[in-house]
Structures are given as structure tokens and as C-alpha cells.
């Protein structure tokens, strides 16, 4: 069975220790988490985990079953990329002088549809949301000029199809 990128979505109670419990399920199977994001979901006090892994369908099915079995997990799903709308965010900190010395940087910013968040005397900060490949592209273009700091968020995603969680969550509202 071939490896693929899967996005696992977990709806859970917002309790101390649950992150440890969920990450342990990956640890036990020696599976590396590519990206992890936890936030409040559309329901108050219900957290949503978005976990990205590169593994086989058999494993992801097994993992989601194990996650869903945890007492404080309400529901867990997995999707392939084609089934979700997903993006990541990244922030780049760059020396301000480059903005004037290296004209090309302004074009890169414009073409990549990234945003200038702030400009100060010493540095400026741009942010970019999009697919990982787009962020990688931007990173590769900026790298030759020197990046002072770079950080990328975990993936966030929503499914194209309605998730069966919707009715369960309605009841919890």
C-alpha cells in the first residue's frame, strides 16, 4: 500500500492531557506527524485538531479508530488532499534595507500575493497563506537575499463534504 498525505481532523473536549494521548497514538506506531494544529472549533469548548501525516490508508484508518476511541474525543475523520480545502500560513522577517537595495524583492512579494504585515527601520515582515508548495516557492525565492526569521504554521483545513460530525455538534450546542 502506497504512502499518501492524509489530513486527520479530530473534534474533542478541551481537556488537559488530550494532546499527549493523541500524539502517543502516532508515537506507538512510529509515525511522524508532519504538521499539527489545535484550535477551538465552530462549537464552544470543542477543540479541533488538524494533523497531517504521510502514511498508508490502512494505518490512517487504524489511527483514526484509535483516536476516536479515546474517551474525550467526539469524532475523528481522515481525508486526502483532494477532499479538503487546506492552507498553511508563514511569516518571513527580512532586513529592511533589502526592500530598497534589491528591487526584485518587491516583485516577489507582489507576485506571491503575500502581505506586508509591518515595516520598521531595521526589518519588515511579510505573511503568506496558501498551499505548502506556494510557501516553499516564496521561501526559495527570498532565501538568496537572506531571511532573518521564518516560521510556518501547521495546516488548517475544512472538508469539502459535510462531515457527519455536524449533527452531533448541533446536539452539543
Amino acid at each position: 500500500m502506497e504512502n499518501k498525505i492524509f489530513t486527520i481532523s479530530v473534534y474533542s473536549e478541551n481537556n488537559v492531557g488530550l494532546l499527549n494521548r493523541i500524539s502517543g497514538i502516532f508515537l506507538k506506531r512510529h509515525i511522524n506527524i508532519l504538521s499539527l494544529n489545535v484550535s477551538e472549533s465552530e462549537i464552544e469548548n470543542v477543540s479541533r485538531f488538524i494533523i497531517v501525516v504521510n502514511t498508508t490508508e490502512k494505518w490512517v484508518h487504524n489511527i483514526v479508530g484509535q483516536i476516536e476511541k479515546q474517551i474525550e474525543v467526539i469524532k475523528a475523520f481522515y481525508h486526502i488532499d483532494e477532499e479538503t480545502i487546506f492552507l498553511e500560513s508563514a511569516i518571513f522577517k527580512i532586513e529592511s534595507s533589502l526592500l530598497f537595495d534589491e528591487r526584485q524583492i518587491q516583485n516577489i512579494i507582489k507576485e506571491s500575493h503575500s502581505e506586508i504585515v509591518t515595516v520598521s527601520r531595521d526589518f519588515f515582515v511579510i505573511s503568506k497563506s496558501g498551499k505548502r508548495s506556494e510557501i516553499n516557492d516564496l521561501y526559495n525565492k527570498l532565501k538568496p537575499y537572506g531571511i532573518m526569521q521564518f516560521v510556518r504554521s501547521g495546516r488548517i483545513s475544512v472538508s469539502k463534504e459535510k462531515m457527519e460530525i455536524s449533527t452531533i455538534l448541533e446536539e452539543l450546542k
Binding site: S12, E13, V16, G17, N20, R21, G24, L27, K28, H61, N62, G65, Q66, E68, K69, I71, E72, V73, I74, L172
Partner: protein
């Protein structure tokens, strides 16, 4: 109302009483002392058994839970007290045993400061608990303990650990106990889909060579009667997994033996010849399936299972009947045609004949001047107990002999560490089993290796005077590992030879009646004397040193490649 207030520690005891607990196993220490102080005050209502090591408390609670179907309770202090419970908790997790473990913890203000006897037991126990929780405020205690019992017992049972900081034990709360009846994020058992029951019934009714494998799910859901009716009406040969043993009487005519690595020949070989395999409350452990790529590939698989994550985990199913197995069996019985499958049963009988001639006969009646065998010792216990004893086995060769040859008339009679394979399990588990079923004979079967892993619990037996019978089958080897070394490591007996102490002298040191035998002619009388004893009794049987357990499915081999020698 100030005078309704009680301490967190007292609340712990009142919660246990409200859950119907009358017996707990534990070991005191600094961070749990307020709870022990209350145990002292409540000793008329709640009996505390002082073990000699916290691992013993966990296994004793497991033994108690396994024979009663109730939740076992173990109490320990923080730090090493808590970590010593972990092996028992892991064992309970993989064998689905309901446990509530209560650990003391350093005060809330000291958490994370590397205080004396502070350990992150929540972090440590997370992968091996069904649920765990750290209580840091007294007022949380009633709700959390109610949840703990509900989670431990409902659905697929398992261990729960509640860690209570010392301040929460001292602080006061208004006590109001409500049993937990549901948790919004937790569905204990799936709702039975009758369509799936019909699909399963159709497959079963059209099958020429159907085969049942039943596991502990039957015992956990108390579906023994339903299993018997299902088996008798359908006429289908039924085999047990190690933890399913005793769910159907071993002498039942449709019971064809044990599946798995050291199970019976017929059920293993014929797994790969059946046309419909009906798995009831079992999880296709690798010790059952052997090589998955060649496991029952010709058969349609029906899986009756309570835990959705078990379906398709190891073996791809054709029909999954997700529910408590008692409900699903009750639903399917009326849909099943009455049959007898005589010629199919004959195939099991033929295979049994092969196994009997190649293995069983020699095991039960050894020839060529060989010493006492483990199998004949178990057979001798059968003879005197008449299949009414609870047998608690440890892990290794003796365990396989016990499970292969023991006779059981009733359910919840076989207590053994199945999934985790925990040496040292049997002695403390037998204590718990005897306390849970004081009117039944409880015989612990232990090897000379495993006996020394929790030998200190002889002290618990002495102090409580619990009349368990202990049989050590001594071959002066770590026998199972030695067998593998003989078969797969070219006889290199690396660290498996045991130079043992005088076990009888040790048992006598604890004032436990003891006997050692090494001659076959002494076996009958010794077993009779042990079982006749009103008190605890230690019997050491010196057995043939280098006997092997057969038949055997070597690791990674197919069930159909089971070896007879």
C-alpha cells in the same frame, strides 16, 4: 452549610462505597496518607488489603475483576508507588480488565517542581489507560471518581487512573455523589444494526464449513448462555482464544479446543479450511492468527465486536456486527437454522486424533522414564478439582499447558495474562481471584521464573490468610525462552538456566504449608492434599527440565503450518 463539608480523602472513600466497592488493594505512602487515614476510619465498610509491592496490588485487583466482573481497585502513593502500578495497568489495558487505580500526588503547588516522590504518572500512564485524570481540587473528586467507574466498566472495559494531589485530599468539599450514566464524547457500545445481523445469519446459514472462534468478549458481556445456545442451535464447531477459555465448558461436545500458537491442532489447521469464520468478541491477536497473509483467506469473515477500532485492524471482515456481543448473539439466534455439521465435525475429530497420538498422549502419560510433565500435573488437578476450580496461570510454558489441558465447567474460571504476557501476574492475581470468589477453589499455576517476579506476595497471603493454592512447576529454566532457544537459536541457552532457592523453605518462612515432589507416584496424593487444605498451600512440582510445548505455530508461520513436534 459548613458541617456538610468533608475532606477530599473522605470523599474518595465515600465514592468507593457508593460504587459498591468493599475491597481495595494498595500500599500506603506519603502522598496518599490522607486517604489511608480515612481507610482506617472506614475499615468496617471498606476492606483494604496490604500487598507487598504495588504491582501486586494492580494484579490482585485484576484477578478480583476477572472472576467477579466487577471493577478492581488499587491504591498507591505518588512516584514509585504509582510507577509500580504501571505493568498491571498495561496488562489490564490489553486484556480489557476494568480497574480503577487511585494514586496520590504531591500538592498542587509543588507540581512540576521535581518534589520528593513526584512523577508525571498521568504522562506515564496515558498510553496504557482507557482514561486518566489528575484531580487538583477537592470538589472535583465525586464527579471524577464516578466517571472513572463508568468508563472502566462500560463498553470495552479497561483501566482508569485517577491521580489526586495531596491538597485535594486535605481540602474540604460539599459531598454529593451522583453515579455517572453517560459522557457526551463517549459511546460505550455501538447501536446494533439488524441489517448486519441478517447478513451474518445468511452467511452462516449457507455455510458448509462454518467455524466459531470466541474470545473474552463473551465473558465480559456475560453472554455465555447466548454463546451456548448459538453454538448448539447452529451446530458449528467452536474454538476459544486464551482469554475466551471457560466461556463455554471445556467438555462441551461442540467445543473443539484452543486457537493460536500453542492451541489445538484441529482448530488451527482447519481455520484455513472453513468457509465462514465467525469471530465472537475476539481481536485477532497475532498469537491467534500467525501470518496474516495466509490467515483464513478462503473464508468469509464475520466479526462480532464491541470496539469499532478492532474491525479490519488485523483481519479484513466481510460482515462486521458492531455491538455488545450479548445483544448481537441474542438477535442472531432466532435467524439461525438448526444444523449439526457432522462431517465437518469429523474433520476436527480426525485432527484431534492426530494431535492426541503425536502430542497429548505422551504429555499426559510420559514414557521412557521421563520426569513429571506439566500437562500431567494439570490433568491431576482436573481429576481432583473436577473442573470446578479457578485456575490462575502465569506466563510461559506452564501457562500454555494450563490453558491446553485445564478443564472448566463454568465461566470466569481461567485467569491469565494474555495480551501483555506479564510474568509475575499469577501469584497476586490468585489472591484477588480468591478474595473475589471465596467459595471457589483457586489454584495458581506458576513457573519457577514467574514465581520469583512477585514472590513477595507470599507475605500478603500470610497476613490475610487467604487460602490460595500455589503450584510451581519447576523445570529450573525459563522454559518458554529455552524452548525457543532450542528450536530457533541452535540450543544456545542464553541466560535461561535458573539456579533456584529452596522455595519450600521460603513458603514455610511465611508459614504457608508446603511440599515439594519430584516423583510421579507422589503427584496424586500431593495434589489431593493441597486441594483438601483449608489453608493456603504451596506445592512445588519438579518437572522434566527440557520438555517443549507442542503443537506450535512458529512466529510468522501460517496457522496451517502448525508443527506437531
Amino acid at each position: 452549610m459548613e458541617n456538610n463539608k468533608i475532606s477530599g480523602a473522605e470523599a474518595v472513600i465515600r465514592c468507593l462505597l457508593a460504587e459498591g466497592v468493599d475491597l481495595v488493594y494498595g500500599y500506603p505512602g506519603g502522598a496518599i496518607m490522607p486517604v489511608y487515614d480515612e481507610l482506617y476510619k472506614f475499615q468496617d465498610q471498606l476492606h483494604h488489603v496490604l500487598v507487598r509491592h504495588e504491582q501486586g496490588a494492580a494484579h490482585a485487583a485484576q484477578g478480583y475483576a476477572r472472576v467477579t466482573g466487577k471493577v478492581g481497585v488499587a491504591i498507591a502513593t505518588s512516584g514509585p508507588g504509582a510507577t509500580n502500578l504501571v505493568t498491571g495497568i498495561a496488562d489490564a489495558q490489553i486484556d480489557s480488565t476494568p480497574l480503577v487505580c487511585i494514586t496520590g500526588q504531591v500538592g498542587k503547588h509543588l507540581l512540576g517542581s521535581d518534589a520528593f516522590q513526584e512523577t508525571d504518572i498521568i504522562g506515564i500512564s496515558t498510553p496504557v489507560t482507557k482514561w486518566n485524570y489528575q484531580v487538583t481540587e477537592a470538589h472535583e473528586i465525586p464527579e471524577i471518581i464516578a466517571k472513572a467507574f463508568y468508563i472502566a466498566k462500560s463498553g470495552r472495559p479497561g483501566p482508569v487512573l485517577i491521580d489526586i494531589t495531596k491538597n485535594a485530599q486535605f481540602d474540604t468539599l460539599d459531598f454529593d455523589y451522583k453515579k455517572c450514566t453517560g459522557i457526551r464524547s463517549y459511546l460505550p457500545k455501538p447501536i446494533l444494526n439488524l441489517q448486519k445481523v441478517q447478513e451474518a445469519a445468511d452467511l452462516i446459514n449457507n455455510a458448509k464449513k462454518p467455524f466459531i472462534v470466541f474470545g473474552q468478549g463473551i465473558i465480559l458481556s456475560q453472554a455465555e448462555e447466548q454463546l451456548k445456545r448459538f453454538v448448539e442451535k447452529s451446530g458449528i464447531p467452536a474454538a476459544w482464544t486464551i482469554l475466551g477459555l471457560s466461556a463455554l465448558p471445556t467438555e462441551h461436545p461442540l467445543n473443539v479446543g484452543m486457537v493460536g500458537m500453542h492451541g489445538n491442532y484441529g482448530p488451527n489447521i482447519l481455520t484455513n479450511e472453513c468457509d465462514v469464520l465467525i469471530a465472537l468478541g475476539m481481536r485477532f491477536d497475532d498469537r491467534v492468527t500467525g501470518n496474516l497473509a495466509t490467515y483464513a483467506k478462503q473464508a468469509k469473515i464475520i466479526h462480532f465486536e464491541i470496539d469499532p477500532s478492532e474491525v479490519d485492524k488485523n483481519v479484513k471482515t466481510d460482515v462486521a456486527v458492531l455491538a455488545d456481543v450479548k445483544e448481537s448473539l441474542t438477535a442472531i439466534i432466532p435467524l439461525i437454522d438448526k444444523k449439526s455439521h457432522d462431517s465437518w465435525h469429523n474433520e476436527f475429530k480426525e485432527k484431534y486424533k492426530i494431535e492426541f497420538d503425536a502430542v497429548i498422549n505422551e504429555e499426559l502419560i510420559p514414557t521412557n522414564g521421563k520426569g513429571i510433565s506439566m500437562g500431567e500435573t494439570i490433568e491431576m488437578i482436573n481429576k481432583h478439582s473436577k473442573g470446578d476450580a479457578i485456575m490462575v496461570s502465569d506466563v510461559g510454558q506452564h501457562q500454555m499447558f494450563a490453558c491446553r489441558y485445564a478443564k472448566f465447567n463454568s465461566s470466569k474460571s481461567n485467569v491469565t495474562s494474555g495480551g501483555l504476557g506479564t510474568m509475575g501476574f499469577a501469584l497476586p492475581a490468585a489472591i484477588g481471584a480468591k478474595m473475589g470468589q471465596p467459595n471457589r477453589e483457586v489454584v495458581a499455576i506458576i513457573g519457577d521464573g514467574g514465581f520469583q517476579m512477585n514472590i513477595q506476595e507470599l507475605g500478603t497471603i500470610f497476613q490475610t490468610q487467604v487460602p490460595v493454592k500455589i503450584v510451581v512447576l519447576n523445570n529450573e529454566f525459563l522454559g518458554m525462552v529455552r524452548q525457543w532457544q532450542e528450536l530457533f537459536f541452535d540450543n544456545r541457552y542464553a541466560s535461561t538456566k535458573m539456579i533456584n532457592p529452596n522455595f519450600v523453605a521460603i513458603a514455610e518462612g511465611y508459614h504457608i504449608k508446603s511440599k515439594r515432589i519430584s516423583q510421579r507416584e507422589d503427584l496424586d496424593a500431593a495434589v489431593a492434599e493441597m486441594l483438601a487444605s483449608k489453608d493456603s498451600y504451596f506445592l512445588e512440582v519438579m518437572v522434566e527440565k527440557e520438555n517443549n510445548v507442542f503443537p506450535m505455530i512458529p512466529t510468522g508461520a501460517s496457522v496451517s503450518d502448525m508443527r506437531l513436534s
